[in-house]
Symmetry: C2
Subunit: 380 residues, 2 copies
């Protein structure tokens, strides 16, 4: 087990009817930026509950944060926030709204010349941020209880992440009933996203960390168990609650304590989203089996353990097959051709971009431009 | 799944050679009470490392915190702390030293007349506490990352607990190498204690919380897997590191989120320690199988799941048997007669005390004085 520091200060308020809990957690003198997305919170009752909980405070709204939140949009929010002298950000929505809130919170107090530098340095130059609270309506990214954010720049088709202890939400409200109105597609994306987050921190090599292995396997076992009910159009509280809790614990830094991590699937996937507009989870379902097959030799031991414990199958190849079958069982495609994307074109575009950035990913840092291209070609 | 709030602000600094990390986490102007136990930290190098990390600060030592820390001892420490105007408590040792630190931290700022009221009200009247930092040398109680404390009053043979968000350690340093000098008995106690903590939050009834079940099972699976190596006299870093991480996660509030809890074993066990001086873990190994058998009907579903997933056995009775066999395999007795304690006497003493306190424990609140006596009699 490697040395680690674990420090996650976010308060999780979980369960039915918990949105009023915001009221006692946001100071009465706060001037609040209420950030949200395309307006789904106005249809599912979240908006009314949040406004009621914030009553008595100055609240300025900034709607319209898009999926894969844009740098350009965030800068507009920063402008509004400064003009209105706002002191607290309340993000209501999914991972995109939360990620945007984190960037806005950091950019609002950023002393550097160009806020893009926050992303260019992966957050290492962030020295402070406005406080953030969240109401999560889409279980997927884990952004509600971590310090990560991914932002896309429309002008240059770049998608970069940053991380800083300053942007942990002070609190996050997780009410599973707010997910009842989600389209099936977004529930499916959430399942795959959470699954992939776990695997990035697990599917490497044995590292003397059996408890971390069990926790990672436990999240995926639960996702596999609840997926059919969670995807059902008739809402089922317990399966939606479990999905929500799985997605939070998949990426709140806990299961990654003291173990090697991969993240090649995510890094290549970000490029597929930037170039072709695929949903984040869609890119992960395509690429993850490809990364595993490409690195079969070094991942063999963990693939075998995973296949046996989670799917009851023997051997590394069977584990990869079982994973693809699970994705198919919930209607998630795993090939570029399913989206009519040319593997050759994608491989060349990403090879060029990774060459320019001198990219090297994976737990051994050996997935560079050429390897990424090969992985993409294997997923045509 | 029940509603819950999860908020654990303790920073964990985990791994080899991490004690110097104290230095950057305790303000230079702090006046530090250094609390420790019987002096084992002077033999294993922890004392020197801690003193070095605290150099430049005013440090006053209070050694001699005993196992099952005494109220009377804690009050002496509070007196010293006030006399020396100390502002920070650094606890170096096992759960007893940490529990004492929490009580001292709360009692130092307690506004009530009698500090015993903190324990009599289970901590509900605690409104502030001095900051605490910890260096853990004995993985067992989970006190390094929770808000619980158990204190014994010598004069009245009482053992009571309190809990308050004010007494979470600000940070806890967990260096597995500090456990290398532990006597085998204490490692065994730590394994059983962690095992029992998990079970108090798990062995109830199915509650629509499959992820919490998997995490709980994962900790116990890991304990069973590493126990032989962790008990070996030749230190093995990875198994000691896993034991340490298991014991922290067994009782940092995570696995208990949103699920029913039992705790009857602990409550009866505290009395066995108070009356007969048994180690805490020794009482748990005796009583837990008894509580399970006594409540076989209501715990049947979880016992079956547990037996199958952790020990690969079928049925509730087989799960209880496998658990006892595991305890025996590491040399832990499970009967009162192993300690030459009269079951009849113990049953009557505890029946009287629970009657006086109107005690009712267990996930259904139906283990009162008569039931506790029956459980004890079944463990003669």
């Amino acid at each position: 087990m490697e040395n680690f520091i674990f420090h996650n200060p976010t308060e999780i308020i979980f369960g039915r009817g918990t949105i009023p809990g915001i009221s006692s957690r946001v100071d009465r003198k706060s001037r609040v930026l209420l950030l949200y997305g395309g307006g789904s919170i106005k249809k599912n009752g979240v908006y009314e509950q949040v406004r009621k909980a914030l009553s008595g405070r100055r609240v300025v709204e900034f709607p319209g944060v898009e999926a894969n939140p844009r740098y350009e949009t965030c800068l507009q929010a920063v402008k509004l926030l400064k003009k209105e002298k706002l002191s607290f950000i309340l993000a209501a929505g999914g991972g995109s709204v939360l990620d945007a809130a984190k960037f806005i919170a950091a950019a609002a107090l950023f002393k550097g010349k160009d806020p893009w530098d926050i992303l260019r340095t992966s957050g290492s130059n962030v020295r402070s941020a406005l406080p953030i609270g969240a109401v999560l309506t889409l279980p997927a990214t884990g952004s509600e209880a971590n310090s990560n954010s991914v932002i896309s720049r429309e002008a240059t088709k770049e998608k970069l992440h940053f991380s800083s202890p300053w942007v942990y939400p002070r609190f996050s409200v997780l009410d599973p009933e707010t997910t009842y109105s989600l389209p099936v597609k977004q529930v499916r994306n959430g399942i795959v996203d959470s699954f992939a987050h776990v695997m990035e921190q697990y599917m490497t090599f044995p590292a003397g960390a059996p408890l971390q292995d069990r926790f990672a396997e436990g999240i995926v076992q639960t996702l596999v168990e609840i997926a059919p009910r969670a995807m059902d159009r008739k809402p089922d509280y317990h399966s939606r609650a479990s999905l929500m809790w799985c997605s939070t614990l998949a990426l709140n830094n806990l299961i990654g304590c003291g173990v090697p991590q991969d993240w090649a699937t995510h890094m290549i996937g970000h490029e597929l989203t930037a170039f072709y507009g695929l949903d984040h989870a869609e890119t992960l379902a395509i690429l993850m089996p490809g990364v595993w097959k490409f690195k079969l030799k070094t991942k063999k031991a963990k693939l075998g353990q995973f296949g046996e414990r989670v799917f009851g199958v023997k051997g590394a190849n069977a584990a990869i097959k079982a994973t693809e079958e699970f994705f198919h069982s919930i209607g998630m495609p795993t090939r570029l051709s399913d989206y009519r994307i040319s593997a050759d074109e994608a491989a060349e575009r990403i090879r060029a971009r990774f060459t320019e950035r001198k990219a090297a990913f994976g737990e051994h840092g050996d997935i560079g431009p050429g390897e990424a291209a090969k992985i993409i070609l294997s997923r045509r």
